[in-house]
């Protein structure tokens, strides 16, 4: 069953059309990456799902509840970390989490247990009595994550959760997201592609208020990887290298890249599988006894997918 179902969601800010009808579903136990350049509509979508903004059109259903008709019920099931992590500066970490729990009608030992648990999960122990206004960006971020997990929500929406964290903390938070994502539904908004690739089972790419790609990271990159590219460096004259490689089956083009003393580099394109191509090229060169110095199959990354889909930044 889909935990989140979004249909033709639209949002206008005055005459500016921030969302131009986006539809997607997220299943239980799925970690969905929400990618897009700045201003693509990621945060707007999250603000609509969490009840801060009303949509201009379309609808969204969370765990069977319409977000407009049954807003409070939806928000009961949600844990949300907004962009920029807005927190009450005058409260201590523990005081803040206690306040958050009370707002969610938690109390007594369950609340105390959960506060202890999320402080442990996010490694906030040493700062639990510090005032939030004295915390560094990394700690603030972790307080934001802690409040989102406090009530063990079915659905967790994290907008840029690792901004401001150091590399070790980034790894910890990613692992935390993977752990909670095992039996819950997570939407992770980010523009850090490696993060989404590392954590998410599926990726949505939003651009100019529309969804331009939807699929597993591997599926998205394989679109661009249809046909393979190899960089080849060998110790021989460039003409000879070009000639030999052009004869290999499936090769469509051989572009010279550079030439130094006794050393030629070319880029080979072929309409066949990448690893097969590399093997074929190596075999062809060894048959001619040409010393192979480097053979590097080039694979499209999620970054390439992202760039090819969102490069056109001029709004219509």
């Amino acid at each position: 069953m889909a935990m989140i179902q979004v249909e033709e969601l639209r949002k206008n800010y005055g005459s500016f059309r921030a969302l131009q009808g986006i539809s997607f579903t997220v299943d239980r136990g799925e970690i969905l990456g929400f990618l897009g350049p700045n201003g693509a509509g990621k945060t707007t979508t999250m603000k609509i799902l969490t009840g801060f903004l009303n949509p201009s059109g379309g609808r969204a259903v969370v765990a069977g509840h319409d977000i407009l008709e049954n807003s409070v019920e939806v928000r009961r099931l949600l844990g949300y970390l907004p962009e920029h992590t807005p927190l009450y500066e005058d409260l201590s970490v523990e005081g803040y989490l206690r306040y958050c729990g009370r707002l969610r009608r938690m109390s007594g030992s369950r609340l105390s247990d959960r506060i202890r648990a999320v402080i442990g999960l996010t490694d906030l122990g040493p700062k639990s009595r510090a005032l939030i206004k004295t915390l560094s960006k990394g700690y603030r971020q972790r307080v934001g994550i802690a409040q989102a997990l406090l009530h063990e929500p079915e659905i967790i929406i994290l907008d840029e959760p690792t901004v401001g964290l150091d590399p070790n903390q980034v790894m910890d938070v990613r692992q935390l997201i993977r752990d909670v994502g095992r039996d819950r539904t997570v939407i992770l908004c980010s523009h850090i592609l490696s993060e989404v690739e590392a954590v998410c089972g599926r990726v949505l790419i939003v651009h100019q208020g529309r969804i331009v790609a939807n699929g597993a990271p591997a599926t998205l990159t394989s679109e661009l990887n249809r046909g393979a590219t190899c960089e080849v460096v060998a110790a021989c004259a460039p003409e000879r290298l070009q000639g030999e490689l052009s004869a290999v089956g499936g090769v469509t083009s051989v572009e010279p890249r550079s030439f130094e003393e006794g050393r030629a580099a070319v880029r080979v394109r072929a309409d066949r599988d990448g690893s097969e191509l590399a093997a074929e090229l190596a075999r062809a060169l060894s048959q001619q006894s040409i010393p192979l110095l480097r053979l590097a199959p080039e694979r499209a990354t999620l970054e390439d997918v992202f760039r090819s889909l969102t490069r056109d930044t001029g709004r219509k």
């Binding site: 969490t50 801060f52 903004l53 907004p82 920029h84 807005p86 009450y88 005058d90 969610r104 009608r105």
Partner: protein, 245 residues
């Protein structure tokens, strides 16, 4: 319950900033201090022949004190939330907008009541000197709480509307001042006779004095209460409107 949770948090917010202390100090200095000034002047120059008249004059200063102090109290409640963006997180919680508004209102009201409680020393002192007529004193305290609540509701509404502390403060103070100066207090000097009925009905000071006379004046109580409720409802509407469509 949720409203009370929010109220408690907002009240602690007052205490952890200077606002609460400045509010209370100014309120007590202004009112308690002025009483003894009036009393001194009264006995020195024979302004007042009866003690209770001093108390009447003293009570009538409460609305003016509130004109300046309550907007200062209220201006913090919404603009902070809107400026830091904590409202976005708060609204992702299973909390209704009216509960948020109510929580903020209760926090401010409680501080106002604390301030009023600290002025009880004045009627108590009067009681020590001579016979204290309890009716008018109770009426005046009820009226003070109602006016304080109504000003607070204006301030909350303006805070949500203006989003900026200083703007909210000035606009609120001007509205409150207008409500106090309306009617026989000032504006009727410049308005035709036919308007006086309306301006006196709307005037906070005229209605405040009515209540202070100790007569159970239900229309005035209803007036202050409904004024407060209307402001709070408008406040909810403004916050809801921000969600856009």
């Amino acid at each position: 319950m949720v409203s009370l949770t929010i109220a408690a948090k907002e009240f602690k917010g007052f205490l952890s900033s200077a606002v609460a202390y400045i509010f209370l100090a100014a309120f007590i200095l202004w009112l308690n201090g002025s009483y003894f000034v009036w009393q001194k002047l009264g006995t020195t120059y024979n302004f007042f022949t009866v003690q209770s008249t001093v108390l009447d004059v003293w009570f009538s200063m409460v609305p003016m004190a509130f004109v300046l102090l309550v907007p200062a109290l209220a201006m913090k409640l919404w603009p902070d939330e809107l400026k830091t963006g904590t409202i976005e997180l708060l609204m992702s919680y299973p909390v209704k907008t009216r509960q948020i508004v109510m929580g903020k209102f209760l926090a401010g009201l409680f501080l106002i009541l604390v301030g009023l409680a600290l002025t009880l020393v004045v009627p108590w002192t009067v009681g020590q000197y001579g016979e204290l007529d309890r009716g008018p004193v109770i009426g005046a305290y009820l009226a003070s709480a109602l006016v304080g609540g109504a000003f607070l509701a204006v301030g909350l509404f303006m805070g949500a509307l203006c989003r900026e502390q200083v703007t909210a403060f000035i606009v609120t103070a001007l509205i409150c001042l207008a409500l106090v100066l309306m009617g026989d207090t000032l504006t009727n000097l410049f308005l035709p006779q036919s308007w006086h009925g309306i301006t006196n009905a709307l005037s906070f000071s005229v209605r405040f004095d009515d209540l202070g006379r100790g007569v159970a004046n239900f229309p005035s109580v209803i007036y202050f209460l409904s004024f407060t409720v209307v402001c709070l409802v408008l406040n909810v509407a403004v916050v809801e409107c921000r969600k856009g469509r």
